[in-house]
Symmetry: C2
Subunit: 235 residues, 2 copies
Amino acid sequence: MDVTCDLNAQATIEDCRREMAAQAARHGHTIHLAQGSPVYFNGDPAREVYCVQKGALRLSRLLCDGRRQILSFAFPGEVIGLAHDGTHHTDCEVLNDAVLSVLPTGRFAAIAHADPALASAMLRLAAQEMHDMQGHLVLLGQKSAIERLASFLALLGGRAGAASAGWVCFDLPMSRTDIGDYLGMSVETVSRAMTRLRVAGLVHLPRPDRVCLSDLAALTGFAEGEAPAPARYAA
Amino acid sequence: MDVTCDLNAQATIEDCRREMAAQAARHGHTIHLAQGSPVYFNGDPAREVYCVQKGALRLSRLLCDGRRQILSFAFPGEVIGLAHDGTHHTDCEVLNDAVLSVLPTGRFAAIAHADPALASAMLRLAAQEMHDMQGHLVLLGQKSAIERLASFLALLGGRAGAASAGWVCFDLPMSRTDIGDYLGMSVETVSRAMTRLRVAGLVHLPRPDRVCLSDLAALTGFAEGEAPAPARYAA
DNA sequence: CGGGCAATTGAGTGATGTCAACGAGGGTGG
DNA sequence: CCACCCTCGTTGACATCACTCAATTGCCCG
């Protein structure tokens, strides 16, 4: 499902995020959470929605036997906590020390009811989120290990330094284990793929938790399968 | 992102679907499409939203080199075509001869603006869809081939015969290739997994395109990793 | 009856998971 | 301040699951 709100077709996604953040700031309150804190767990009643102001969150789901899939990492500007049935079906934890705007679900619904612009913005954000999830599905279903990691780094790189033509550098707030659980592969495979990307010259790692990209476009192209997948990572 | 609309917290997802379908029927028009027809392609302007009344649709995304990921199959009651930026980023085609309610995007937005209940219902449907996609992410990222197929058949079985305790039977409107592209595995692996489930007694196949489940709960349990994955399919 | 497509099955290969060892960094306690 | 330990990341060796290539069967349709 993809959705357009023609009402504010001129508005950017960023505008929608700001709209949500402004409403949350006005009608809700702000909390600070330390690294590792849970925001909510699977099964908790969904009483609040959250706008990330600072830091990063990790949303995940577990299988009975402990396998974990990370569904997304939430960065500043993103909204989380909407549930279709009043209950959370994911775990949400703080990666980095985080600042969140908290808006009780009921109040959110009331405001959205009174203000079509907010409902519209929220719908737009939901559509954007679904689009991102579709990319994640393609990644997990079709891409090789090295393409998955390239996609992930390109995604983060795009967030970090959208327009800059030169080097794009950013920190990784999550562990290799988290990356593995996001990309559907083992820690060891993440590490090996990282090494291959480094050797191929597509990424530079000043520290294990810091990434520098000399050519984001090349990395993105590789991640999207422009080069025949098997041939490229012979390097 | 999970979202609750407390406004109509008592309303079921089905109610939301009916609400959307009713609005689409009142303000839009109805079309019939033959098997194999495209509804829209990646890159097309998102001018309309669609409610599936009859038949089944296939939403997919392609990589440059032809790899295809099927994002979802849409069945009666589901709404598709919402886009975050006015453009479709998926291909949508008809699996079965289908009947769709078509509602121009602009008119949808206008109605949603005037009627908070519709906006609320749509947001609810979006949250449900995100929940389903999360399940798909877990499937692709964490499950073995046989667990993936079991999950898929259990999902369809749940749709087909929700409450019935006895046998649940249904037709598969899609090919093995489609199933493979949905589950992120090759046709051959789909076929082998199907054979293993059949031999294990979890499914019965009167015809290749018809499935009968004697114990939906057992299949679901297996699909969710209740039994240690490797041990179970020794049978 | 013959052709073509879909599904299944077999054989062999290859990518990724598992198990294990090693080194680096950071925190704690002596 | 230093020593120790624990965790994280990396790398190697090996096992295994799933993919590729290939052949066969059955069905639908001409």
